[in-house]
Structures are given as C-alpha cells and as structure tokens.
C-alpha cells in the first residue's frame, strides 16, 4: 500500500515534469529552427554590419531560413564578412539575390533580409560556399540624421 502510494506520487512528479518540458518546447521555445537540420553556408560582405551578431536570423520575407554563424573582417579590403548557415530546405536562391541588414522595429534586433533575385537561363543558383555580392549595409541612425541635416542645409 505504502509502496503503491509512493509510486503513484513519483508518477505524478514525473508527469508534471514532462508536462513542463512539453510546455517549454511547444509554447516557449522555437523548435522549428531553420538551422537545426542540415545546412549550407553562404557568405556576404557588407560595408557596415551595424548591430548584427552571431546567431542573428536570416529571413526571406519574414520567414527565418537560417542564422548568422560567424562574423569576421576580410583581410584584404577590411570589410566585414558574414558567414550564414541556411537550411537545405531553402536551397536554390538565384545568384542575383541580395542581402540587406535590417532592423525589426525601431529598437528591435538586427537581421539579414535575403531578397531573392530574378531567375533567368544564364542565372546560377547559390551553392554551398558561394558569396552574395549584392548587399546593402546596416542603416546607422547617426549617419542618417547627419545626411538629413546636410540635405536640409543644402536647400
């Protein structure tokens, strides 16, 4: 009787723990991370990456397709070089695609927005290790304000 009661309560305990784990998995964490499964790597050079960080998302039209895996400085021209891991589920972007560093909201985190380019017969698709040449850097607020003031002064 005693042993049965203990087993019952331990069962309740473990069930509660499993419920907590399921809750965390389903409701709290994003388990559908695009970088979970197999990935391929793309590179992009920017003039300025602003507040981009490792693990920042790479999005196509708002859908997360990958994450930034490494940020280094190119040795030759001293340009920031961003390495991205993109899920193999999203393969075959044309090499006319462009990458921009965007901000979600006014104060939100920065991410890479991937804009698929046009597809033509003589357009290749981006493969593992390819570079995206068409890039737009992060908008730095200070520069923007400076430009605005300058253009105001010019009138």
């Amino acid at each position: 009787m005693e042993a049965r009661k203990i087993e019952f309560l331990v069962g309740v305990f473990v069930t509660a723990a499993i419920a907590a784990i399921v809750f965390l998995a389903m409701q709290v964490a994003n388990n559908t991370d695009a970088t979970r499964g197999e990935t391929y790597t793309l590179y992009a050079k920017f003039d300025n990456i602003g507040g981009l960080k490792v693990r920042s998302p790479v999005k196509v039209g708002g859908v997360v397709v990958g994450r930034v895996s490494r940020i280094t400085l190119d040795r030759e021209y001293f340009e920031p070089l961003v390495e991205m891991r993109i899920s193999v589920d999203f393969k075959g972007f044309p090499d006319t695609s462009s990458a921009s560093i965007l901000t979600s909201g006014l104060l939100g985190e920065q991410y890479i927005g991937l804009e698929p380019g046009f597809i033509d017969e003589d357009v290749f698709t981006l493969e593992h290790g390819d570079y995206i040449y068409n890039t737009n850097s992060a908008i730095v607020l200070e520069n923007l304000i400076g430009q605005f003031l300058f253009s105001q002064g010019g009138d």
Binding site: V10, V12, A20, F23, A29
Partner: protein
C-alpha cells in the same frame, strides 16, 4: 608569519583531502555491478523523498518569481515602449538563470539539508555500521539511490520551475497589466531557442544536481555522530552547496553565453 603560511597550507591540504575523499565515496557508491531490481524500489522511495517532497516549494517559488519578473520587467520595458519584449525577458531569465539556480538553492535547503541530516543520523545511531556488519555496503545501499534521485529530480524540478514561472509572468503581464497576449507568446517564441536557451539551462541544472547532492551526501556521511556534529554538517551542506552553485553558475554562464 610561519603560522600564517602553515594555516594556508593546512587548509589547502584539508580541502584537497576532502575533495579526494568525497570523490572516492562517490566512485565507490556508483561504480560496481548494478542490481536493477533492488535499486528500483530504493530509487522510487528516494525520488519520492527528494523529488516529490520538494515539488510544492519549487512550484510556489517559481510562480512568485515569474510574477515578480513580469511586474518588474513591465515597469522597466514600458518606459521604452517595448512591453512586447516582456515575454522573452521573463522566459530567458528563467530558463537561463533563475530556473536552474533558484531550484538548486531551494533544493539544497529543502532536500540537501534533509539528506545530510538523515545520513548523519544513520551514522550516529550506528545504522551505517550495522549495515556494514550485515555485509551490505552502505555506500551502495544508502548513498547511491539518494545520489541518483537528486540527479534525476533536480533538472525535472528546474523545468517545472521555469514553466510555472513563465506562466506567472504571463499571468501578471498579460492578464493583469494588459500586454498583448499574442505578442507575449510570439515574441517569446521567436527569441527563445530550444538548443541555446532551454538545453543550456538543463545542462546547468544537471551540473548543479550533481554538486548539491554530492555535497549533501558527503557531509552527511562524514558528519561527526553527535548532535552538534550533525547540525554543523547540515549548515555546511546549505552554505557550501549555495556557494558552489553560484560560483559554478558564473563559470557555466561564461562558457555558454559569454
């Protein structure tokens, strides 16, 4: 001057000796051919004592800490118009830090001290000696099931703590202060990563489980078999495990998120 260095030397030697003795104790308790049938019922009993009996305090503390996080986070974030970031703030602080750490501290106070006192009392009443004389190894019989129970329970308790805490934050933030329901969950979901946040928190609580249970068992096993000895050992369990948890938390955080 000589005495000063002597005392440093002695303390160092004592510490090293203690860690060595504790490692030997744990190794003797855990290594050896397993006896699954006997172990199962012993483990069940200890899971009940260590896990089930700590559940209530963990759930209640988790709920309150989550509610406080919701309240504090809201008052700070609303100044920046960023109250939709309340979800990730509550979830990340619970999953990465407060869940594992506070669970470990509460566990040390609730279950760790009880383990020390129980084993110390078994030593004082010669129950451990009598096991030895009955050709039953008290390390395998008494220490091992308690260790595994702590090892299993604490991560589970930490998961419960975080889950209940997030619900507490939701309750205060959304139900009471009027943060948007959808934004709360969706922003949380987009910024909490299973691998990076939930699993790292889990690894932390596994490490804490080993450390806290180990300290509690060792302190009980080596307690002086007198009333002041046992009470000192119980206090030491709580103090040492708390310090070890907080110190290790820094190291682990630096390794994982640094």
């Amino acid at each position: 001057m000589i005495q000063f260095f002597q005392s440093i030397g002695r303390n160092t030697l004592d510490t090293v000796r203690g860690i060595g003795a504790a490692s030997i104790m744990l190794a003797q308790a855990l290594i050896g051919k397993p006896q699954p049938v006997k172990m199962f019922s012993l483990l069940m009993r200890q899971l009940y004592v260590v896990g089930v009996q700590s559940m209530l305090i963990i759930l209640i503390s988790g709920l309150f800490i989550g509610m406080v996080l919701g309240l504090q986070g809201y008052t700070i974030l609303v100044d920046f118009g960023a109250e939709q970031a309340l979800g990730p703030m509550v979830a990340l602080s619970l999953l990465r830090e407060l869940g594992p750490v506070v669970t470990a501290l509460l566990f040390a106070g609730r279950a760790g001290s009880a383990l020390t006192a129980e084993i110390g009392l078994m030593r004082a009443t010669e129950q451990l000696s009598s096991l030895e004389m009955m050709a039953v190894d008290p390390l395998r019989r008494v220490v091992a099931p308690r260790f595994w129970a702590g090892f299993i329970s604490m991560p589970l308790l930490a998961f419960m703590f975080s889950a209940v805490g997030i619900y507490g934050g939701y309750f205060v933030g959304v139900q009471w202060l009027g943060v948007d329901d959808g934004a709360f969950w969706s922003v949380m979901q987009s910024s909490v990563d299973w691998q990076h946040d939930v699993m790292n928190g889990f690894i932390k609580s596994v490490v804490f489980a080993v450390v806290v249970t180990w300290i509690a068992l060792y302190k009980g096993y080596t307690a002086m078999p007198t009333s002041p000895g046992i009470s000192a050992a119980t206090t030491q369990t709580v103090v040492y495990s708390s310090l070890a948890v907080l110190g290790l938390d820094f190291v682990l955080t630096a390794l994982m998120f640094g």
